[in-house]
Symmetry: C2
Subunit: 396 residues, 2 copies
């Protein structure tokens, strides 16, 4: 029998159908720079579907975070609290404005920030808290918002992975992630549920930022007010950048948004299949599967496993790779990074380090076929025998 | 006879043929986030055609300028010299890093910065000079580079409008704009000669910035070195942002670059026709046409007129608009902006103000037809009669 020609990447971008039509329409319609017809369609989609107050597409989630850092008025010497187990941009956006970062450890049961460890870091210099909804699974926002209220801090939700995911408050109200803190940021990078290659969005939940958010977005000018006829010419009124994406990206994204329901159904099916069919083998290998807290929903963004140690994780990644399946680890603790190690206050963050060493993400994309997923699951079962034969003795 | 149905925008984006094919190919090929196949093709195009050392596509020229501000190490208290008659981003990029801006007046014969007025502003805090090649026409780079050498300053060329434009040094060598200063920045905004909706590029001419430029571009990580196999994992090593554009934008741009020769020929034909056919009427109306210095080439980026005063300029714009032709003014002096007025050192910059008041840009895009251009030229001739009848008495 011929060797299986299956070759499974970790991620694969996809077309839902109308992406190229919409791009062509934008050109024909005479506008492919930012803030055109498709940008507005995307904004309207999010406002209508999730009840967001103000949405602004950006060129990346990084840029949305930079807008948040500017809007919250971060200055040198201000402190911002955030998890260490996150993407560099969560921190870099605030460091660019001069902030010192106080990194928080992850939860034992989840890579998200340990909410219980936040309040002890608050001091007179603290300006805000950035929560990261890892894998699209909500942090416990009631706890975070209470701390923020009590100490008068801004909350920015890094909801890069959390489109179409929700949090249920203690009082039973369910709200979309990105819509709870003062500001929320999303990503439409090609690894996300809905994509535009690179891309992101700022959601402004606190009205007091609304007017300035448009100015910062439009390079520090009052151009948006000008086009609404509120001022008779526009000029330089504030700091800002070119945060808005091309209509090419907005048109592509809009085609995806129109298929959000279908995309989400597919992704949840993939997630559930991994979860069910790997339960037994993970139990036997001491590998932890994701846990979804009662207050959180699952948006099928990512399927990860937490291996019992780094050696097992690396062995699994290698085993899959040799069989043409690309699984990948994720963040390296930022408090240990070359850039921040000597700026960090020295606290140990063992859970963050543990996820850096032990977490692995399985291939996950819209066009992953049942056959491909079956092959991945079967290969992980085969890994069990391989691992037990070669590595178990080292566990003593 | 029916009213002519002609309706001429100021600008119109265009497809040269393969833009959508290339985008589709990027998706099929499995990568639409940044730094993929088409990004490399664009980099290679520019390196080969213009001999640029290092190119990095960005999401906008604004972002390329922000990279320049980071790379040149701008800190609070540093001063940067640049023209007042420029886009806000030229200044904002440096202000975001804490710079104070010393604005320079424009030349009497050209909206570009008056090179003679630069050296007097240099002091111990001066870190760099940003030249803006207005309308794609070179500043006198020999003069600028001499000042920079003498005072140990960085030179950043804001070549947003200057793709495929050249400067001839006193010794006869001709070099592409953006390739002369330590760093150069380009724009591919939809109003430019080659476009990707929003988009830009940083060109690194001084080797000493090359390694760090890749890091800053990739969100402050050494990801580029990782993919070249130079380090075994990548992490956070510096400040930076998500400066790289999606492959959607790079694919679109690459299709345009393949047609650069055709685009340039068409644009120069449009420019030359405006120049020749408006010469007489401009002379009679005391309107100035663009002048191209001996050391500069013309890249057919823009056709502008400088009216004798603001009243005449506004009358011309209105007259054209009533006849469905959209002509537009350009920058407002940044030293007079709401944001910078009280930070400016108080010097009068009369030429900059004059261009703010009197300059008008005529419709200019790749698909402008001969018939449309004829209609614009004819309408400006008709304006002459109208203006003489209604406004000339006010000149006394």
């Amino acid at each position: 029998m011929k060797k299986e020609s299956i070759n499974i990447p970790f991620n694969k971008p996809f077309l839902t159908g109308r992406e190229l039509d919409f791009i062509e329409d934008a050109v024909t319609d005479g506008k492919i720079s930012g803030n055109g017809k498709y940008t507005k369609k995307c904004h309207d989609f999010f406002k209508k579907k999730y009840g967001f107050n103000k949405c602004l597409l950006t060129t990346s989630c990084t840029d949305a975070l930079e807008m948040a850092a500017i809007l919250t008025g971060i200055e040198p010497g201000d402190e911002v609290i955030m998890p260490s187990y996150t993407f560099v941009s969560t921190a870099n956006a605030f460091v660019l404005r001069g902030a010192d970062i106080r990194f928080v450890d992850s939860r034992e049961d989840h890579p998200g920030m340990d909410e219980e460890k936040v309040e002890g870091l608050v001091n007179e210099n603290t300006k805000g808290i950035v929560v990261v909804h890892y894998a699209g699974i909500a942090c416990d926002m009631d706890k975070i918002m209470r701390i923020a209220d009590e100490h008068d801090l801004y909350v920015v939700e890094d909801a890069a992975q959390a489109v179409n995911s929700f949090y249920t408050h203690a009082d039973g109200r369910q709200r979309p992630l990105g819509g709870i803190g003062h500001l929320g940021t999303f990503s439409f990078h090609e690894t996300k549920n809905v994509i535009s290659g690179e891309g992101g969005m700022l959601v402004v939940n606190d009205d007091h930022f609304t007017e300035r958010s448009e100015i910062v977005w439009e390079k520090g000018t009052n151009r948006s007010a000008f086009f609404r006829g509120e001022v008779d010419k526009y000029g330089w009124v504030d700091i800002g950048s070119s945060f808005l994406p091309s209509e090419l990206n907005a048109a592509f994204l809009y085609a995806q948004l129109k298929n959000l329901k279908k995309i989400q159904a597919k992704r949840l099916a993939i997630w559930n299949r991994y979860h069910q069919e790997l339960e037994q083998v993970c139990g036997r290998l001491n590998i932890r599967q994701p846990e979804i807290p009662d207050y959180a929903t699952n948006n099928g963004h990512m399927y990860y496993l937490v291996c019992r140690d780094g050696k097992q994780r690396d062995a699994l990644i290698s085993y899959l790779k040799e069989r043409d399946i690309l699984s990948v680890f994720h963040y390296l603790s930022l408090h240990r990074s070359t850039f921040y190690e000597d700026k960090h206050d020295g606290r140990e963050l063992p859970q963050s380090d543990n996820y850096s060493d032990c977490l692995v993400r399985l291939p996950f994309y819209y066009e992953l076929t049942e056959e491909e997923q079956e092959y991945i699951i079967r290969t992980i079962h085969e890994f069990e025998e391989h691992f037990k034969a070669h590595h178990s003795h080292s566990q003593g």
